[in-house]
């Protein structure tokens, strides 16, 4: 009863959504897909902003929608962040934050101060929205959604309208939310990078249907996803910082299967983190290792092989201990190396991105 059960059927001219999904009641769940895949519509159905042709929705055992019940949006205990911050232009930042607080139920799990603090907007409270930058506006939008003390936070591509610099400005705040909030977050995104950084659980959507869902690492390591990630194909590993090498400015992180060296970003030893390993940065080799500039060499067994989107390329999944890593190589090098399922290979990882 701690889950979110959603069943929606929407039939509009030129668009249909057909979803029957159980979402975890904690952590960040990314709804991922190309534009038009129905991810935003699904989120809006959950918020009650769209009324599906047919729908059932229960949130932690509480019925929000079925054949007889329709809980209007303003009675659902949720917070919603729109793609454009959509602040009320006639109210100051503080006025925007208070708008929801005044109307929220009295049990405050998230106070005004906490929301202001989490998003770093204390110095903006007296300003009108038109005096804020795009990034600041979106931070206020997120704080406003949090200030109503929601039991679930719905975010519709909160970074999509921002340029790269603004994204980099907001991402650390979102990562803080991920670490500090206890409520579930549904995060709509078409950016593999945001998903890799923020999500615990991944729902992949295509043409109004859910094509894959499950824990982030497992789902990213699947080779049968009908949507191709191309350059973004890769896995995310949960890891712990084990050692810092001050002399070379490197950090060693341990994951279930081995350890990897990465640039030191000042994350202290013992801290949990996640690393993203892109398939294009992983090469496979057999035989004895020679001298190489590549620092990270592991050993594992080929687990699965699948075509990539280019006819000359393959995606190979290698099992290393309890983790999987994807490698993208040309079919020619796969043939030269004699890659087949079960074969032991050396895995060379050119670069590793530390996500938190």
């Amino acid at each position: 009863m701690e889950n979110i059960e959603a069943l929606f059927r929407v039939e509009w001219p030129g668009f249909s959504l057909n979803v029957d999904l159980t979402l975890p009641g904690r952590g960040v769940t990314a709804l991922f897909g190309h534009s038009g895949s129905g991810k935003t519509t699904l989120l809006r159905c959950i918020a009650g902003l769209e009324r599906p042709t047919q729908g059932k929705l229960s949130f932690k055992g509480e019925i929000w929608q079925n054949e007889h019940t329709w809980l209007p949006t303003h009675k659902r205990p949720l917070g919603y962040v729109f793609q454009e911050a959509s602040l009320f232009p006639h109210l100051s930042v503080l006025g925007n934050l208070r708008y929801g607080i005044k109307r929220a139920s009295t049990e405050h799990k998230v106070s005004l101060e906490l929301a202001v603090d989490l998003l770093g907007i204390a110095h903006l409270l007296d300003r009108k929205p038109d005096r804020l930058s795009g990034g600041e506006r979106q931070r206020v939008g997120i704080a406003r959604a949090l200030a109503v003390s929601p039991e679930i936070l719905l975010m519709d591509e909160p970074l999509a309208a921002l340029d790269l610099k603004r994204k980099q400005e907001i991402l650390p705040y979102l990562e803080r939310l991920h670490d500090e909030l206890e409520i579930p977050v549904l995060y709509v995104s078409h950016s593999p990078d945001e998903v890799a950084r923020l999500a615990d659980h991944l729902v992949v959507m295509d043409e109004g249907r859910v094509v894959a869902h499950g824990p982030l690492s497992e789902t990213l390591a699947r080779l049968d996803l009908p949507i191709r990630l191309g350059e973004d194909a890769g896995v995310v590993l949960d890891a712990v910082v084990a050692e810092i090498d001050d002399r070379w400015h490197l950090a060693r992180v341990e994951f279930a299967g081995g350890s990897l060296w990465t640039r030191d970003h000042g994350i202290p030893v013992g801290k949990h983190t996640r690393v993203r390993v892109l398939a294009r940065d992983v090469s496979l080799a057999s035989g004895e290792p020679g001298l190489s500039s590549i620092q990270n060499m592991l050993s594992g067994h080929v687990d699965a092989v699948a075509d990539d989107d280019h006819p000359g390329l393959l995606l190979v999944r290698v099992r290393i201990g309890n983790s999987s890593i994807l490698s993208r190589l040309t079919k020619r090098s796969a043939a030269t190396l004699g890659i087949e399922v079960g074969r032991e290979m050396r895995v060379q990882i050119k670069s590793v991105a530390l996500m938190e």
Binding site: L49, K75, G79, S86, P89, Y99, R103, V148
Partner: protein
């Protein structure tokens, strides 16, 4: 020379009529404008057209039909008789009813445009912040669409002040009851009292100019808020 007592009575009556009409129109016109701005119903077109009819109809046509409907033998007239209100034509409240229809598009359309310009988003945001639809109307729609409401009130008021044909058809020319400024001017001219006519007519020109000046100098604000 200045305004005669009869002129002053006509001015007072006109202001009373225009204020009453404007107040009623804001009450009646706002839900109509809200519905027209947001509905996807097939009735949007027909209802919008009916609301806009007074823009193109000669006021005498409107006055004629209202006279029939409100008169002792008309459907509404019988009802008002049953309710003990008597017949409405040739009374102040008859003029109010006529003016409400006559000035309806001038109030409904600016409000409708302002609400349409807001779009769905502010309403959705308010709903996700726990505001009920009514709450949202007063705390989000009204402040954001305020320029539209002000334009509506100014246009509704001044258009009622400038009314003539409907008044003559429905109210006649009863001093202190239905003799508004425009009718009073007509009387002065009929009686060749040109000096008296000038005073009232000139005042109307100045009044109308000031109203339009207010509206047109407010324009930039209106666009910004929309």
């Amino acid at each position: 020379m200045g305004f005669s007592d009869a002129d002053l009575a006509a001015i007072w009556l006109t202001l009373r009529l225009a204020s009453t009409t404007t107040a009623l129109l804001l009450l009646i016109g706002t839900p109509i404008a809200w519905w027209l701005a947001r509905t996807r119903s097939m009735w949007k077109g027909p209802v919008g057209a009916v609301v806009a009819l007074p823009l193109v109809l000669p006021p005498t046509v409107l006055g004629f039909y209202l006279l029939l409907i409100l008169g002792p033998d008309g459907p509404v007239g019988r009802l008002t008789h049953l309710l003990g209100l008597g017949a409405l034509p040739f009374t102040f409240w008859g003029l109010v009813v006529g003016s409400v229809f006559y000035s309806m598009p001038f109030v409904v359309q600016p409000i409708q445009n302002a609400i349409e310009a807001l779009g769905e988003r502010p309403l959705e945001v308010a709903a996700t912040l726990r505001a009920s639809p009514l709450d949202c109307f007063f705390t989000v729609v009204l402040p954001l669409a305020r320029p539209g409401f002000i334009t509506a009130a100014i246009l509704g008021f001044s258009h009622t002040v400038g009314e003539f044909g409907v008044v003559l058809m429905l109210g006649g020319n009863i001093p202190g009851v239905t003799r508004v400024v425009s009718v009073q001017i007509y009387d002065h001219v009929e009686a060749l009292e040109y000096a008296q006519a000038h005073w009232l007519a000139g005042s109307m020109v100045i009044f109308s100019f000031l109203v339009l000046l207010t509206l047109y100098t407010r324009r930039p604000n209106l666009n910004k808020a929309g």
